[in-house]
């Protein structure tokens, strides 16, 4: 029975989908609706953990549906996808708890739609995580874009509409214009779209063609937010904070960089990338993105916007990891998916908690707030340390590997850029926490009333949990490392 369940990987999609149906059924009974969302979250974590526990080696492809001779929807298990799926499932559950606190605390409307599309987005994320071929990946990539659109535009204001326009326009536009074209070229060149260890392109295409194809793929994956297609991420910040936290710090953006890694490893192959020098353009593009986004982050006074630009810069780390075409660096990129997820979701949770408690959104208004909201701001500082890459926080490991990769490949300019970016990280993340603890309260807080206190428990517990995660994972990173090792060293 269990083995049968584990064979049918599509269950990972069905669980959130069923959760979504339950949400619809209980649309007029908020308690049951939110319980079913939570239940689906727990079930999904259990299921993915089971998959992970029983995993020994890459399984054969499980084909769900043959659309035509060349196109099929198929799933398989491999370490990278499993780690990404577990990450998304675990953080989904935590975010659901948080959303209950946040959405009620801010009296948001249309909650059924909110929870429904949230479930759909997670189902699409699972589809991306387990995709066995490029076509399946592409399908769920697009499904993820579309299912998050109603979440981004949740408030249905003019601002939400224009944010949604940029979001959808850039994500759909790049994917249709470049990603789809790259997909068809791959199909015609390699005669297969399957993900295979060592890649499928070797011997089918080389030189400039490989360089162009890789560039087309990376630019086409707009979710990875490379220059010049990163505007969608700040635009998506009009969404309620739980959406920004899970989707735009974890699921959507990580689906992008996950696709980057997966295509680099299983379509191109790391050795092939290095041999053909196919990733040079993307490497420099990512380095530029990393630095420029950090500088922009520094100039933003709106807390969520600052975090969004920080995310763009951190995503570029992962793309650099892939583009260095070196096992240690790619490993660093893969680990960074996990480490950055914990750090950044905490930061967003904090931003949401601050908004729920005080309605403040600007960095300059937060002076002295640390004494009123000690837990939130402590969690904020811990997470910021992790994103910066200080030990003993988990972010240190991935940064370490990335730097090691750039040393090994003798890309000293990349090394310098990492150093510069770390400094910029400190400059735009730390002051927020320090202001809150060490400066006198800002007069604008008076408007929020005298009794500012911590956000509701449903908000506070998740953000403390993820902040604790950044610390704990520092000591338990080895199993993840060992698990991912074979992906990059076949």
């Amino acid at each position: 029975m269990m083995s049968l369940l584990l064979q049918h990987i599509e269950l990972a999609l069905l669980i959130p989908l069923l959760g979504g149906i339950m949400v619809l059924l209980f649309h007029d009974r908020p308690k049951l609706r939110e319980t079913s969302s939570l239940l689906a979250g727990i079930l999904l974590i259990l299921y993915v953990t089971q998959l992970l526990e029983h995993y020994t080696e890459p399984t054969s492809i499980h084909t769900l549906l043959n659309i035509s001779a060349s196109l099929s929807i198929a799933f398989h298990l491999e370490p990278l996808g499993l780690v990404f799926a577990l990450l998304a499932a675990a953080l989904w559950f935590i975010t659901t708890v948080y959303s209950i606190g946040y959405m009620n605390g801010n009296a948001e409307k249309n909650l059924t739609r909110f929870y429904l599309f949230f479930s759909l987005a997670i189902a699409a994320t699972m589809g991306i995580a387990f995709a066995a071929n490029l076509f399946t990946l592409f399908i769920f990539y697009e499904a993820l874009t579309l299912s998050t659109y109603p979440l981004v535009t949740h408030k249905q204001t003019a601002e939400a509409k224009s944010g949604g326009r940029v979001y959808l326009g850039l994500l759909l536009g790049t994917s249709i214009m470049f990603f789809l074209t790259a997909l068809v070229i791959t199909w015609i060149q390699a005669d297969t779209l399957n993900f295979e260890p060592g890649g499928v392109l070797a011997g089918n295409t080389d030189g400039v063609a490989a360089l162009l194809l890789f560039t087309l793929f990376m630019v086409g994956i707009g979710k990875a937010a490379l220059l010049p297609f990163f505007r969608w991420l700040p635009a998506a910040m009009v969404a309620p904070t739980p959406v920004s936290a899970l989707l735009h710090a974890v699921a959507v953006v990580k689906a992008g960089v996950f696709s980057v890694l997966k295509i680099s490893v299983y379509i191109f192959g790391i050795d092939y990338l290095a041999a053909q020098d196919a990733s040079t353009w993307i490497l420099w593009l990512a380095v530029a993105t990393m630095v420029i986004a950090s500088v922009i982050a520094l100039s933003k006074d709106n807390l969520k916007a600052r975090l969004a630009y920080s995310t763009i810069s951190q995503l570029a780390y992962i793309v650099i990891g892939a583009a260095l075409a070196w096992p240690a660096a790619a490993m660093g990129g893969a680990l960074h998916i996990v480490t950055h997820a914990f750090g950044k979701i905490t930061l967003f949770f904090c931003a949401g908690a601050i908004y729920t408690a005080t309605k403040l959104t600007q960095v300059s208004q937060l002076n002295g707030l640390g004494h009123r909201m000690p837990f939130t701001f402590t969690a904020y500082l811990l997470a910021a340390f992790s994103v910066i890459g200080l030990p003993p926080f988990v972010g240190a490991w991935s940064k370490w590997l990335l730097i090691e990769g750039s040393m090994d490949t003798q890309h000293y300019i990349v090394l310098l850029a990492f150093a510069l970016s770390t400094l910029l990280n400190c400059a735009y993340l730390l002051p927020i926490g320090l202001r809150a603890f060490f400066k006198p309260p800002d007069p604008s807080q008076a408007a929020a009333g005298p009794g500012i206190q911590e956000a509701p428990l449903a908000c506070l517990i998740p953000l403390c949990a993820t902040a604790a995660g950044t610390l704990l994972l520092f000591f338990y990173v080895q199993p993840i490392y060992d698990f991912l090792y074979p992906v990059f060293n076949p």
Binding site: T153, V184, I188
Partner: protein
């Protein structure tokens, strides 16, 4: 009985048309038209099975042997197109009743259905006919009746639209007639199968060149290929709502069929492509069609007009596939035709629902429609995704095959245009969505209007098309499989 299916396919609607004139009760006329449409769908499905089982069906009208006698010839391609035409006709008719009763004066309803049945006869006749002159005759039957149908639109602009279409359509039909006449002059036969055998011997004849040129121009006019498309936006925008549904899903599609039949059947494909350079004519025009028509669609304020321009662009995709000059390209064109019939038929049907309830298809009057007509708007969103070519929809499958056929041939410009057209599609579809979901009605007229959802009789067929759009995005065994067989028979 089964042996007479090809003839029945034409005769049933043909005989029902005059019968319909005699029926004065509107609802009975509708019932007759619906039953006849469904009957022709059943016949089309039977023909699909017959052709799959026994190969090409050749029916000799009156028992006269071809090439002297008139032949109805059903191969995979004909059966495929027959199914599309008859299926969309049935769905349209099932949904039509309320909308027609509202838009057409009651004393004219029987005449309306009679004209519709004649139009259906013509369209089905074009597809079953194995004889070039008969194709022209049926083309005229369908065209003349569609001029009348379009002229019955809601306001007087439909008269000018019909007149414009009449002039252009007649020029097109005349050109086709001249082309067929020249062919007859050269070969002494009108039978397509027979012509195919005789043409290679006379390929250097100038008369043949002239015939080919006349046919190309004439058929392009009927297809509404850029720059001969000007009749189409007006005709679609001002025709009665249900006629737009019917014509958009069938008329241009049948014209695309005629193009395939003439240039890859009557003329052997290698002659059309290599001697007469069909690709060099079709490709640039298709590319311009996709870009300009999509671009113009973005700026339309009348949504029926927007969708009509979108049709011109989508026709460009089909002719682009054909113009690529490979079997895969033509297959892609056929798959595109199939999925587009479902998508565009569905979108225009949704427009019919909106017209029924609000009486307007202006963009600003869509404000807040997402709340007031949730099912209709949801259908528009889902079909719109198909039009853009989002995975899981039939529209994706067709775009995928056109794109891969273009890249396979190394036509990079075409590839860029194909994806670029999709981006423009996002723009105009999203305009509708933003109005419907993000705006509240401004005009007092619409605020006071208590709009409610369209009747179930229209919603069910509409959602059938929505489901079809997704079904054929996942199961392509018929849409792609049958089209491949059809085209491969032509190219062999």
């Amino acid at each position: 009985m089964l042996g007479h299916l090809p003839a029945l396919q034409v005769i049933i609607p043909l005989i029902s048309a005059p019968v319909c004139v005699l029926i004065t009760r509107a609802s009975w006329a509708w019932l007759l038209a619906t039953i006849v449409s469904i009957a022709s769908f059943v016949i089309a499905v039977l023909l699909v099975h017959e052709v799959s089982a026994h190969g090409v069906l050749s029916y000799h009208l009156g028992g006269w042997e071809p090439p002297l006698g008139i032949e109805y010839r059903i191969d995979h391609l004909s059966a495929y197109v027959l199914t599309i035409v008859a299926a969309t006709a049935s769905i349209t008719m099932v949904a039509a009743r309320k909308s027609i009763e509202q838009e057409i004066p009651s004393e004219k309803i029987n005449l309306f259905f009679s004209a519709y049945l004649l139009c259906l006869t013509g369209l089905l006749g074009i597809v079953v006919s194995g004889d070039a002159f008969n194709i022209f005759v049926f083309l005229e039957i369908s065209s003349l009746s569609s001029y009348a149908l379009i002229a019955m639109g809601r306001d007087r602009r439909s008269l000018t639209a019909a007149y414009q279409y009449l002039i252009m359509g007649t020029i097109g039909a005349t050109f086709i007639l001249i082309g067929v006449g020249l062919l007859y002059m050269l070969t002494g036969t009108l039978n397509i199968h027979d012509l195919q055998q005789k043409i290679p011997a006379i390929v250097d004849s100038r008369t043949l060149h002239a015939a080919f040129a006349f046919l190309t121009a004439g058929i392009s006019l009927k297809i509404a290929l850029f720059p001969l498309h000007l009749w189409l936006p007006n005709a679609y925008a001002h025709a009665p709502s249900m006629i737009t549904v019917f014509l958009s899903a069938t008329a241009t599609k049948v014209s695309v069929y005629v193009m395939l039949r003439f240039f890859f059947g009557l003329f052997p494909p290698d002659i059309s492509l290599e001697q007469f350079h069909l690709g060099k004519i079709l490709l640039p025009l298709s590319i311009i069609a996709i870009l300009t028509a999509s671009f113009v669609a973005v700026f339309q304020e009348n949504i029926k007009r927007m969708l009509a321009y979108s049709s011109v662009a989508q026709i460009g995709y089909m002719t682009l596939g054909i113009g690529l000059g490979s079997a895969n390209g033509a297959i892609a064109g056929m798959v595109y035709l199939f999925n587009h019939a479902i998508i565009k038929g569905g979108l225009f049907l949704a427009m019919a629902c909106v017209v029924l309830r609000t009486g307007s298809v202006r963009l600003e009057d869509f404000s807040g429609l997402g709340k007031r007509m949730p099912w209709t708007m949801a259908a528009i969103v889902l079909l719109g995704l198909g039009l853009i070519g989002i995975p899981f929809t039939g529209g994706f499958v067709s775009k995928w095959y056109v794109l891969s056929a273009a890249i396979e041939q190394g036509h990079w410009l075409a590839a860029v245009v194909i994806v670029g057209g999709s981006l423009l599609t996002i723009l105009y579809i999203w305009k509708i969505i933003e109005y419907a979901y993000f705006k509240t009605p401004v005009s007092a007229k619409l605020q006071n209007l208590t709009t409610h959802e369209a009747p179930r009789q229209m919603l069910l067929p509409l959602w059938l098309l929505v489901i079809g759009n997704f079904y054929f995005g996942l199961d392509t065994s018929f849409s792609l499989g049958y089209a491949s067989t059809a085209i491969q028979t032509l190219f062999r």
